[in-house]
Symmetry: C2
Subunit: 199 residues, 2 copies
């Protein structure tokens, strides 16, 4: 005999497809939904359906957007001379939270990874180059992840964009603020030394 009635088993199956949700968390979430009121459950279901209906990719930067343009591309207060290139929409949120960047974004929707069959053609690279054509942009900040795929992508973009006369910069690697030298891996520590600055 199965442990769960069919509708519960079906919900568990769908929940377990979500990232970071294993069988235990799925059970916890399902039983929470079952114990809660109908209205809360319907609000969740509705939010899922609506997010898929209303959110698309921004036609300029490929961030998530509720309209044709995302909130950054549509905002005329933003500095249009700088573009920060990231891998995923979540990285846009991470950069925004710092409050250190006032320009526009470009979401590649991934990083170069030959092993996964992802080359520049599978990413939004062509669209980025097109955005540089009218000469408004003077700096491209490459904020891909500091791992093999992200670094490869950064090098590729630098080689592609520099000849267009646009400055290409890379976010710094180094020790996390509040971190501890003792626990830093040697590659990060090496990068931190290499990028040392005059005090």
């Amino acid at each position: 005999m199965p442990y769960y009635a069919e509708p519960i088993a079906r919900l568990l199956e769908e929940l377990e497809r979500l990232p970071g949700i294993g069988p235990k968390s799925a059970q916890r979430v399902a039983f929470h939904i079952l114990k809660g009121d109908d209205e809360t459950a319907h609000r969740l279901a509705d939010a899922i359906v609506e997010v898929k209906r209303q959110i698309h990719f921004c036609k300029v930067c490929f961030n998530f957007a509720a309209d044709e343009l995302c909130e950054y591309c549509a905002d005329h207060e933003r500095d249009r001379t700088g573009i920060c290139v990231v891998e995923e929409p979540r990285d846009v949120v991470a950069i925004e939270r710092t409050g250190e960047f006032r320009g526009l974004y470009h979401v590649l929707q991934g990083a170069i990874s030959p092993i996964d069959g992802i080359g520049p053609e599978q990413l939004r690279v062509r669209e980025l180059i097109l955005r540089l054509e009218d000469g408004t942009v003077t700096e491209v900040v490459v904020a891909t992840n500091p791992n093999v795929e992200g670094e490869t992508t950064a090098l590729y973009l630098a080689r592609l964009i520099k000849p267009l006369g646009v400055r290409v910069t890379r976010i710094a690697s180094g020790l996390p603020v509040g971190g501890d030298l003792e626990y830093a891996d040697e590659v990060t520590l090496g990068r931190a030394l290499e990028a040392r600055r005059e005090m």
Copy 2:
């Protein structure tokens, strides 16, 4: 400016209400839904709506049930002389997985906790006593949690049921199988000593 478009913010808010889902996991799940296909998202939303529509409490044992009776109460192969009393429907699943119990269940829907204003009247205690009236049941196994509330509930039930001539047993406390004496807390170790058995 908010970091997320309104439909995304709304989905994040609903996801964060779920147990064990913080802002980071909510973002991960939301972006997974956004990147996935429409069909998968609709299957999840639909599973949530359907589980609320189809699942109710079993009218005998108060476990979750797709019909009037839960699968255990409806199953005539189960031993009807024993009832295992648990706090929540998830505990039924935990007991079932052991394969050690072939009787019926009774879900109290909580445990006695004066601090939270939960007394026997807030639990399905009256309904349990009613099930014992016809004399079929000869043993009640109390499998409430081995914490203060669960133990209090167990003691209360024992005092209530024993006078009816029904045997009341309690699941054993002791060291977890595969556990390590060194890491056991002293209360658990004390219980394990107290409940030692002849070899």
